[in-house]
Amino acid sequence: MSVGHTARVLEEAGISTVCVFIRAFRHEAQYLKPPRTLVTPHFLGRTIGPVWDTVRQRQVVLSALRLLEGAREPGIIQDFSPG
């Protein structure tokens, strides 16, 4: 919940934001409506990817940044896809 609220406040201050949530908390993004959210299929506490899995972590960070750059409407929630 804190990430969603922080993103909303930053965005209102003119700072573009992208959030990363895990699938188990997708509903939090739906309720809180941060401007841009990437949802990952990972365990709680491993939002970006498994320990030492640098390939997956890079894919997730790149996907989040592409969403930051490419989103055209507020409140978008995108599921991460490694492909």
Binding site: T17, A24, Y31, L65
Partner: protein, 236 residues
Amino acid sequence: MNESTAETLDEFRKSFSYGRRNDLFFKFLASKNFSDQESGEILRGLLAKLGEALDTGDYQGVKEYVYQWQVRGYAPQEQDGRAPRTFQYDSAPWAPLSRPLSETRLTLISTGGLFVEGDDPLGPNGPTQEEAISQIADFLRRPPKIVTIPRDIDPARLRVRHPGYDIRGAMLDCNVIFPIDRLKELLVEGLIGDLAEDNYSFVGATSQRRLLAEAAPALAREIRSKKVDAALLVAA
């Protein structure tokens, strides 16, 4: 264990969530989404998957099984006439990125409860992880203490403490919740324009009202003052 002290399955599964068997990885076992019968099936299925993995050495099935139940454990319950959620919004604010990513100055914010060794936001004698877990209710009442983490921090100097999730993964590799190394790689490759000197973390288990009224606006002012264009926020 005699009959008078026998533990029910309900008591057993709930002991994993801030009880005597507390394990924040498996606290979802205590979810109200599961009936007693279903809880028994979860454990039976887990043992079956473990048995297969011990034979084959392939634990992917165990991971997928636990993941599936973790997602179901945290799923929101139907409202059923109960009061609506305290925080629920109809629209999202919007500040589109004003320049290409390759020219954007970015900062990283994680609610994973990271801090730099020797700079504990709760003081030099701040609680251990176990003590923090026992203080979860206090964390949820307090305002967050947002700490700065330098871009070029030695990962060995990072500490993690959070009463709401299992920190073992983050202790092994901070990038699972604070992907600073991945961002630095993208910076070297020119995919992002710049990564701010100051990045941030706090414990997400905190007073939402005080986060909204005080801490988040102060953070926004600080980030703006440092000419940062955008933020990547990672939920723990």
